[in-house]
């Protein structure tokens, strides 16, 4: 009779001794699967400050991921070091108040990855797409901007702002119906050095379609190169667009829509664009959900982004959702450590309890590795059973776990926000996120990883417990029996 046959009989005929082992293994399996599922969970939040409109999907940078990358880049540069890495710049400033550190990012840091955008643009069902640049402040040349005469302009840069679009008719302001054409046409992907200005600006400066206006870098309006754009349209607004920041530079009437690559030239950073949003139009509205699913499974670096659907629902990778990824990783690690200790103790107990059986087999001339092999086989049979049971329980368990972790995280974040409310000021408006759901998916890979993890855990713990047997000679084992 070989060790596997003996193992099977031992497990089947004396099941009680395996029950504790089975329970521990199921628990370990479930915790591992839950941990992994939560790490990759999609947290659906409703964003009250961002609105996506039309039968399309919007891709934005994820704020949490941005600050994570910022930290990584400045670590790469080194603390107390001047330098640049990945579009992040660290500079030392000697001021009257002492040394100060200036950290700033250029466009390359904030720009959405064009390769990712292009991957999504070719997903079947996407009929057209648009890219919009960041709102770029520049200095007007040869025309006057609209100013509030009562406003103190000392702190304002005296500029206007540009929004570059690949296809202006898909700009969020146009899609929402707020911006409409009064004259001329909108920007298309074929245009170069063109702009669409507000009716107020046209009226004040007597500008008409066909005129040219210029812009340059507001940091150095005297010397920097002027770039001209031809006016191809004049727009009107239903309501004034809400300004990004205070000051007349950002007021609605001073917003000028241009072609995609114009803002970077005007601000003096040619070939270093700053793409802030990408919009993907879904051709057939009836296919919306299928197309959304196809887009969200595309192979891009999802951690960097939020995907916002037509209802304003955002999907954010759990790794960007507060500390969910960290907590899940911790859960996995703790499970491994605790699992090892528990399994090790169970196996030590096992081998002690089965000394007599081991002694008999050794005295009959069975090799130690054959005897140990039986214990391994029994453990693996139990592990297999635990694995099958966990599989059936995992989907339910992981969604409960994910719901719990996410709500705990959301609460924690709320608490921190209240504590920090008067300590931290944000340069831009922080998005308000309310969690509307969590989507966990237990994938084949997770099962494989969990299976491999269990095999390793079992092998290591039983191996460690089995060293005791390997070290003893059969006489010692037998004399322990009496």
């Amino acid at each position: 009779m070989n060790s596997l046959q003996r193992a099977l009989r031992s497990v089947i005929r004396k099941p009680i001794k395996s029950i504790l082992l089975l329970l521990v293994m199921i628990t370990v399996c479930l915790f591992l699967l839950c941990g992994m599922a939560c790490r990759n969970a999609n947290v659906q939040t409703q964003d009250t400050t961002r609105q996506a409109i039309g039968a399309g999907l919007r891709l934005d940078a994820n704020e949490k991921n941005r600050s994570k990358r910022l930290t990584e880049c400045s670590q790469k540069i080194g603390e107390g070091q001047e330098g640049s890495y990945g579009g992040v710049h660290q500079e030392k400033l000697e001021t009257a108040y002492g040394t100060q550190w200036l950290v700033w990012c250029d466009n390359s840091f904030d720009c959405l990855q064009i390769s990712d955008i292009e991957k999504l643009a070719v997903v079947p069902g996407i009929s057209d797409y648009n890219i919009s640049t960041c709102i770029t402040a520049v200095n007007p040349v040869g025309f006057d901007r609209i100013e509030d005469p009562d406003m103190d302009q000392t702190n304002d840069m005296g500029g206007v702002v540009l929004i570059g679009n690949r296809k202006m008719e898909l700009d969020s302001n146009v899609l929402s119906g707020n911006v409409t054409l009064k004259d001329g046409r909108m920007v298309t992907e074929k245009d170069q050095d063109v702009c669409v200005i507000s009716e107020q600006l046209a009226d004040q400066d007597h500008l008409v379609v066909g005129d040219k206006i210029g812009f340059n870098d507001y940091h150095d309006p005297e010397h920097s190169q002027v770039h001209e754009a031809t006016i191809i349209g004049i727009y009107q607004t239903e309501q004034l667009m809400s300004p990004l920041m205070a000051g007349d530079t950002f007021r609605s009437e001073n917003i000028i829509f241009t072609d995609l690559r114009f803002p970077e030239k005007a601000e003096g950073s040619k070939n270093n664009p700053c793409y802030e949003h990408a919009y993907f139009q879904v051709g057939d509205v009836d296919d919306y959900d299928a197309v959304k699913a196809a887009v969200s499974t595309a192979d891009i670096e999802w951690e960097r982004y939020d995907l916002i659907d037509r209802n304003g629902n955002m999907s954010t990778m759990s790794s960007n959702f507060n500390d969910l990824e960290k907590i899940s990783t911790l859960l996995i690690l703790i499970t491994f450590a605790a699992g090892f200790i528990m399994l090790f103790l169970i196996f030590v107990f096992w081998t002690k309890n089965r000394n007599y059986e081991i002694g008999i087999l050794l005295s009959l001339g069975y090799k130690k590795r054959n005897v140990l092999g039986q214990l391994f086989a029994e453990a693996f049979i139990t592990a297999l059973l635990a694995f099958v049971i966990s599989f059936t329980l995992a989907p339910a368990a992981s969604s409960v776990a994910a719901d719990y972790l996410v709500s705990a995280q959301a609460e924690q974040a709320e608490l921190e926000k209240n504590i920090n409310a008067d300590k931290v000021t944000y340069s831009t408006v922080q998005s308000e996120q309310t969690v509307v759901g969590v989507e966990v998916d237990i994938t084949k890979e997770m099962f494989l990883i969990c299976g491999a993890g269990m095999v390793i855990l079992t092998a290591v713990s039983i191996g460690t417990a089995g060293i005791g047997i390997l070290k003893k000679n059969p006489k010692d084992i037998l004399s322990e029996l009496v």
């Binding site: 004396k14 008999i360 050794l362 005295s363 001339g365 037998l478």
Partner: protein, 207 residues
């Protein structure tokens, strides 16, 4: 001579100053039944374990068919040269009678069990449902399932009542005489020792 202790001395690593066996020389022949006789603590079990290859002598060696048993793997010696029967703790409790006998070697279990007086109705039973005497006979059956020529038994009758004990001793004697095996039994009963072919007193073995 089939099994031989040559200049064997032994002490336990835990008690290095206490020699349990000192310069033991003895040869065992096939077809005979031996009894190792001596009071408790005199080193009977120790000597038997050395003969069985469960441990190795501190000095000297054990020869099987004239060759030191350490020349090859000790598990080979245990598997093919000897078979062991203990006082208790003999059978594995999650295996049936037949399965336990199969553990001992390649021979078909049923005829051996028949010969040991274990009826068919017990073969598929769990071994714990057998009486002490029956269990010991299953253990002997297991020892006979291998092709080993030496049967070593450590107080095989220690847990049995007198009548059953004599049955077992007769059985062992028959194995020695009818099958030509060398049977070595440890006992502290002078009565039992008197009935075997050769009784060896531990205090005569050196030390």
């Amino acid at each position: 001579m089939i099994l031989e202790a040559k200049n064997v001395s032994y002490f336990y690593k835990a008690q290095k100053d206490k020699l349990i066996l000192e310069n033991v020389n003895y040869g065992f022949e096939p077809g005979k039944m031996y009894a190792l006789l001596g009071p408790s603590g005199s080193g009977k079990t120790t000597l038997l374990s050395l003969l069985a290859g469960l441990d190795i002598p501190t000095k000297g060696e054990i020869l099987y068919d004239g060759n030191p048993i350490t020349a090859r793997d000790l598990t080979e010696h245990r598997k093919h040269h000897i078979s062991l029967v203990f006082q208790s703790y003999n059978l594995i409790d999650y295996l049936t009678v037949v399965e336990n006998v199969k553990l001992g070697g390649q021979k078909t279990p049923e005829p051996i069990l028949d010969k040991m007086g274990i009826g068919k109705e017990f073969w598929k039973r769990n071994v714990l449902q057998l009486s002490g005497g029956q269990q010991q006979r299953v253990a002997i059956a297991r020892a006979l399932a291998s092709d080993a020529n030496v049967l070593l038994a450590d107080e095989p009758t220690g847990n049995l009542d007198e009548a059953t004990a004599w049955d077992v001793i007769d059985l062992l004697k028959r194995i020695a005489h009818e099958e030509g095996k060398c049977v070595i039994v440890v006992t502290h009963s002078k009565e039992l020792a008197g009935s075997v072919d050769i009784a060896i007193r531990m205090d005569q073995l050196g030390k």
